[in-house]
Every structure is written in C-alpha cells, then in structure tokens.
C-alpha cells in the first residue's frame, strides 16, 4: 500500500461522493419535481435562480433550519440510528462502481476510476444495499407509531420477496461474463457491444452468434433486475413502505428536519446507485455502444478517452434516473397482495427458468 494508492483513493472518495454523488442526489430531487410538473402540465419550481436551479440549495437550508422534533414516545437510540442506516449504505455501494475507463498517467501508473476495485462487485452491492432495509425497519419500530410500524413491516416483507428475484436475475449475466468483477463486465461489453445491444462494429467480432442467442435471456434478466431495483429503492410502483395515501408518510411519519431529509436523500441515493448498477451490468457502463470503445484511441488510456467515457456513463445514468422519475409519475401503486404475487409467483420462477435457459444456451455454444 503505497502513498499513491492512499492519496488517489482519498481524492476519488472526495470527488465521487461529495462532488459527484451528493450534488446528483440534490439535483435528482429537482429533476423529479420538474419532470413530474411537465408530465402533469404544471411548471414546477422555477423561481430560485435561473429556471429554479438553486432550488436544491434552498431546500437544503430549509431542512437544516427546521425544528428537530423528536416525539416523546420513541426509542431514542434506534430513532437516531435509523436515518443513518438508510443513507450510509447508498453512499457505500457507490465505492465499487466504475465511473470511467482506466487512465494511464504520465508516470506509467494506472488510475482506475472507481474507489475500490473489488472482485465481487455485484455481491458487495447487494450485501450493502440490503442493510438499508434495516434502517427502514428500525425507523418504523423505534417510532412507536402504527403508521410507521406498518410501513416498516411492509418494507421487510417487500425486501424478502424481491431480493431473491434480484439475486437470481443476474446469475445468467454472471454465467455469460464468467466474472464477478464489474470492470471485467464492462470490458467485455466494450468489446462485444452492450448486453442489450450485442452489436460490435469497432471490432472483428461484429454480430456474434453468442450475442444474439443470449440476447433474449439477458432482456428477461434486465427486466426482472430493473423491476427489483424499483422495489429495492422503494420507488413508485412499489413504494408501499411510504405510501402517502394509506400510511401518512410510512416509516418516516415521526421524523422531521434533517433526519427526515436523510431518509429522503437516501431514497434518491439508492435510486442513483441502482441506476448505476443497471447501467454497468446491462448497458455497458462507461463504454460507447457498438464496441466503439474498443478502438485504438478510446482504449489507449489517455485522459481524453477517460473523460469521454465518464461523460458516456453519466449520460446513461441521467437517462436512467429520468426513466425512474417518468415511471413514478405514470404507474399507480401496486396493491400489497399483487406485489407479493408478482415477486413470488412471477419473477422468482421467471428468474429460475432464465438461469436454466441461459445455461443450456451457453452449454451448446461452448461445445
């Protein structure tokens, strides 16, 4: 562990978490309000700064200055712990996501554009992201209020019905890649074209038999994974733990001021990280489509190639966040039994079948 590693990692932590992720969270709240407004034929916040672009700052100041009210009937320790447990996992999971291709510095060293290069990328993300459900469950229990309690119970039940489908759905993907490393996955997609767009013109592979045959199982995996991420992040068709129309505010009913803001921002952080994972696994991460990232210039490791790839990743990420918002304002909430049925009866089986189909396809391709 040399000085370069420590310094570069510290810089990456500061840049990615504080200069990239936190402003993105703030502005995705703004985007949510503006996009929902134009969908509903309204205007949305447009007064603070040019087109309301300073609105997140005003919101932040408002949350900081509000009264921090803790009701007398709560379990104090857990009540304080819960918002932290919701926000922190989302910020931790961002550590393994590669934001761009490796940059080769003048000194000959390679700078990877993710905070930690671990060999178990998706597993790490699932393991840490699942902790956030404890935040919600503890919040509901510690609040000592019936609405919050219902919200947390629903959250726990929702988690166990979707976590299985979430985990099973990426097994076909892992079988195809043969690796758990997120960087390997992206390099594979940079070479062969994205999983959902298996066409590569910048490379001698072109359109491969492998790519075409696995396209359909990958599409199913993508759909299951995306829907499960929606459930995991408590976003709209599955926001039963919050469920304003039935449960007042759900698990954060009793919270106010910055503690509420932590829940609120944690939800958006989870949404951004979830989008980043989907983009990384299924849409080629930082790579350009059609294997263009495999050309000599873009795979050279220069600063410019790195910047282009970062831009590509962020563009895909923002596109996916807008998709999340668009879905929230289009689709009504599921009823609770429908949600359970979808998780246990449809997606669980579909994911299992998908594993078998992919295994058979890969077996015959390998022969």
């Amino acid at each position: 562990m040399d000085a370069f590693f420590i310094i570069s990692t510290l810089i990456k932590i500061v840049v990615i978490t504080f200069l990239l992720l936190l402003p993105m969270i703030a502005y995705s709240v703004y985007a949510e309000r503006r996009v929902s407004a134009i969908i509903q034929d309204r205007v949305g916040p447009n007064r603070v700064g040019f087109q309301g672009l300073l609105q997140p700052i005003a919101d932040g100041i408002k949350f900081l200055l509000k009264e921090e009210f803790t009701p007398g009937h709560v379990r104090k320790g857990f009540f304080i712990l819960a918002p932290i447990l919701t926000m922190a996992p989302a910020l931790i999971t961002v550590a393994v996501i590669p934001f761009g291709s490796d940059i080769i510095l003048n000194t000959g060293r390679t700078l990877a554009l993710s905070i930690a290069q671990v060999e178990i990328g998706p597993l790490f993300i699932f393991a840490i992201a699942s902790i956030s459900v404890y935040g919600i469950a503890i919040a509901g229990w510690a609040s000592n209020s019936k609405y919050a309690y219902f919200g947390s119970v629903r959250s726990a039940a929702q988690m166990i019905s979707y976590e299985i489908a979430l985990g099973l759905s990426i097994i076909p993907v892992l079988m195809l890649f043969g690796s758990f490393n997120l960087n390997d996955m992206i390099n594979y997609q940079a070479e062969h074209g994205w999983l959902l767009l298996p066409i590569s013109i910048g490379h001698e592979h072109g359109v491969t038999k492998e790519g075409l045959l696995t396209w359909f199982p990958m599409l199913i995996a993508f759909i299951i994974f995306t829907v499960s991420i929606f459930a995991e992040t408590n976003r709209m068709p599955f926001d039963l733990p919050e469920c304003e129309t039935e449960l007042v505010g759900g698990y954060h009913t009793e919270y106010s001021s910055m503690k509420f803001a932590l829940f609120f921002l944690g939800e958006y952080a989870a949404m951004i990280v979830g989008s980043a994972v989907i983009v990384t696994i299924f849409l080629g991460g930082w790579s350009l489509p059609f294997g263009l990232s495999h050309t000599e210039f873009l795979s050279s490791g220069s600063i410019w190639a790195g910047l282009i790839h970062i831009g590509c990743f962020l563009a895909k990420l923002i596109g996916f966040i807008v998709f999340f918002i668009w879905v929230r304002w289009s689709i009504p909430r599921f009823r609770y039994d429908q949600l359970m049925k979808l998780g246990w009866v449809v997606f669980f089986e579909l994911a299992l079948v998908n594993v078998v189909i992919t295994a058979v396809i890969l077996y015959f391709l390998a022969r």
């Binding site: 996009v35 134009i38 034929d41 205007v43 689709i331």
Partner: protein, 188 residues
C-alpha cells in the same frame, strides 16, 4: 328498469400480461410531457397559461380579464354623483357581518354641509381585512347601495395595521358609482 348492469370490460390476452398496458401509461405521460415542453398543452389558451403546461404564473400574468361580473373581491364604500357619502350608518352590515370584520361609529353630518340633517353618516367605518371572508352579505344587506364588493383581490400589507381599512381607504378603493337609486338628493 331502474338500474343499469355494467359488465367488467373483457381484457384481451395482452392486457392480462400487464406489461403492454404499462407502456400505454408511459406513452400517455410522455405525450403530456412533450406537449408541455412544446407548449401546446390542451386548454393552455383558455387558462391564460404563461409557460410550461397550463399553469398561470401569478404575479406576471393575472386572471383579471377572466374575472366574472359576480366576482367578490374587497368590500369598499362608494359615493354618488355629487360626491356624497351613500352610507347612512344604519349598521346593518356591521350586524350581519359573520366574522365581525366591520366596525361603524355612527355620527351626524356636520352643520355647514349641504346635506346636514338629511341623514346620518358614519364618523368612522373600519373593515378589518384580516377578518373579512369576502362573503358579500354586507353588500346584500345594504339598503342604501353604499357598500360593494369590488373586483380587486390582492389586498396585502406588511402589518395588521395595514389591513385595517378605514373610511378614507374604503372610499379610495370604492370611488364614485353612478346610476344607482337616489333617495335623498336633488337628482331624484
């Protein structure tokens, strides 16, 4: 038959799959979003919209030319053609006012005045706009057609005192109103 039996619509096979209808929903919201951005939202002109969607952005654009004749705005006192106060301080409006916003101190018209001894006139007439509910009962009950609810609605002030409309302020808002029934003057 006094009842109509409504059958559940029979869903087609692809509607049972849920996914195609989901995209139908997304299409509708996308259509609204595109129309909002292109500012071709339906009903935009009728609602006097001033930007995205059909929202009228208040201080810049106002609803004024769409206000109906019966719109009940701020209450005010009026004078007749000869600049004479119509109010005779009968206090009916004070008694009917549901939130008790009106306070009248009755008085005589001073001696030198042309209309002295003809009728009484209010010495003070205060309407507390922090209490007024714009119900219009004062206008309805007034036997002298002296108090009217005007079309003005943006009554603002920086203190409660600013929102106490005294007699002077009420006549300033109300102004002169002609063509009403005249009981006590020579135009009769």
């Amino acid at each position: 038959m006094s009842f109509i039996k409504v059958n559940r619509p029979k869903l087609k096979w692809y509607e049972h799959l849920y996914f195609p209808t989901l995209f139908g929903g997304l299409k509708i919201t996308l259509g609204h979003a595109i129309r909002s951005v292109k500012s071709t939202t339906r009903g935009k002109k009728e609602m006097n919209s001033s930007g995205l969607g059909i929202t009228m952005q208040y201080p810049e654009t106002k609803w004024d030319e769409f206000l109906p004749d019966w719109y009940r705005g701020v209450p005010a006192l009026v004078t007749d053609e000869q600049e004479r106060e119509r109010c005779v301080s009968c206090q009916l409006c004070e008694f009917i006012c549901p939130p008790k916003a009106i306070r009248i101190t009755p008085g005589e018209i001073e001696d030198g005045n042309e209309w002295a001894k003809v009728e009484k006139a209010p010495k003070e007439f205060d309407i507390d706009m922090t209490r007024c509910i714009y119900c219009g009962l004062c206008e309805e009950v007034c036997p002298e057609q002296a108090i009217y609810l005007r079309q003005d609605y943006s009554i603002t002030g920086l203190s409660r005192k600013d929102l106490m409309h005294d007699k002077e302020k009420l006549y300033e808002i109300g102004g002169k109103r002609v063509g009403l029934v005249n009981k006590w003057n020579k135009l009769k």
